[in-house]
Symmetry: C2
Subunit: 356 residues, 2 copies
Amino acid sequence: MTGDTGGEDGRGDGGAYTYEDAGVDLDAAEALKERLGSLVASTRTEAVRAEFGSFGGRFRTSEPGAELVASADGVGTKLKVAFRAGRHDTVGQDLVNHCVNDLLAEGAVPLVFLDYVATGELEDETVHDVVAGIARACRENGCALLGGETAEMPGFYPGGEYDLVGFVVGEVAFPEIGTRDLRAGDRLVALPSSGLHTNGYSFARGLLFERAGLSVDDPFPGEAAGTVGEVLLRVHRSYLDDLAPSCRAGRIRALAHVTGGGIPGNLGRVLPDSLDAVVDVDSWEPPAEFRWLWDESGAPRDEIYRTLNMGVGMIAVVREDEAPAVVDALEERGAGAFVCGRLAEGDGSVRLAGRD
Amino acid sequence: MTGDTGGEDGRGDGGAYTYEDAGVDLDAAEALKERLGSLVASTRTEAVRAEFGSFGGRFRTSEPGAELVASADGVGTKLKVAFRAGRHDTVGQDLVNHCVNDLLAEGAVPLVFLDYVATGELEDETVHDVVAGIARACRENGCALLGGETAEMPGFYPGGEYDLVGFVVGEVAFPEIGTRDLRAGDRLVALPSSGLHTNGYSFARGLLFERAGLSVDDPFPGEAAGTVGEVLLRVHRSYLDDLAPSCRAGRIRALAHVTGGGIPGNLGRVLPDSLDAVVDVDSWEPPAEFRWLWDESGAPRDEIYRTLNMGVGMIAVVREDEAPAVVDALEERGAGAFVCGRLAEGDGSVRLAGRD
């Protein structure tokens, strides 16, 4: 997302720099955040409309017209799993879907996507597979692949490795999502993730490859179905098509895309100072791969919910009386949805309620 | 630029993939280009308006309003020079100015910029310096730094190293530049580069650091003033402010931003099939650093002009009778400008005339 500085995560838009990463010195990070924030603020122009921005930056042209949103993202060290598995046609989908979800959290639908693929030495098949994945996800999201950069940088990346960055520009289609008119009593509707999405991969790789000594072809330990490679490479799901009907109906008041920082880190972004989000972590069972990673790590509950999405990839804030219709609409599409909590009077905190 | 696949260079916009890189197998590259082109074409939507696009991709929103242009770029292996010199506050300027020049070549002025900085381990001072350079160039170009992504990816980059990617969105302000109404007899007005800009660094590093065994603190060999590090890190110049008055006056018919592929590779992008560009390479003396690199490499003339910008960073195509006014306007600003050639009947080729 475009919203954080830190481990496999983004940096703020339009003046606000936030930081979420359990593994980083938070005092130093806070200081860096403030310094970068002043730099960003020094560039502000009339084009910027980012008062509420956090998942993407809002801007406009000099003429009347649609409000625009842009966001930049990488895939992080999920790429390392793709390198191990020799499979390069899924990470492009991860990248596009991640960007599209970030736009949606700002009430925007994608228009165009640009990619950057950097390698030490250009390998045609690999680049083709990466771009094929990008193109597939662009088609699925109704977004044009407008262009890109394929950089061959000798000495930068070992053979077979690459970095992959995506940029998306969209237009605001659901303005009420961006204005975030939230109230105590609003319900939190959770949409399941399809796996780890694009966060927590350094953590998961450490546990699976280093501590447990597994390879990508081994069965994923515990009860998850598939090999380590298959489970870890499951494509970051796009929520655009599933959520669009409820967005068009005006029933979605805010959306939190659960990426780096997990549910607490991302739900916190959409809260006003006067409201808390109370998430009932007993309202769903984390899928088997999350349970194994949690057990194996021995991490405290609050830490694991900040490191991994734990099975929830997007949270919609809806009015209490509209929650059943939103859940039904999502269930009818086979999108999976359930109420996982509510907003309450508070101070902008995200509270995890339920088992420890 | 967004316009090539190859060594430190870009990839096409809106369906057209072109390729320029002396160091890459051109047959294989041609095959990859066609395959990527079909992938891009498969994603085309109504938002895309890229018939003429080559330095940036054109698109529009669903509402009437300004036509938009987006472009993605990296700094390439100029970063390796920054690493050697321990100087990180200039590469961000290179990146922004490169992107801004690409937009200008499509007739657009920048609105917002997003950056991606990826490191193995986050080093606060380095990230701060990089972003400070980006912010400075954004201010200078009247462009807002809308957001970005700072990715910490353990195992991806050695200590102290990073990759840096930029993404710019602008609006078309000078539409006649994008339509490229060119005629035989039009003059080519060259604007000096400030150095190597952001291309040819693998070539230059090989000659200076490996073959000549120099360090960044050694004086640049030959007659160039400054150390190797100073000469190589000179900031890629932005041409926006210098060219804007002539653009506003409607006197600029096309612009070629001279990046990867040099003058032939980039001037060729703006030519119709019926016209050649004849560049008189005797009309200027390549600056001392280019002369040393050329002498040292022993490269044939046509090859060196494809590898390095040879002292010309932007070429404007103007009507013959307007050329003096354009040159005068640029000279008055201290921008440096001279007529370096003309368009002639032909087949879309760029011909270098003058000394071998």
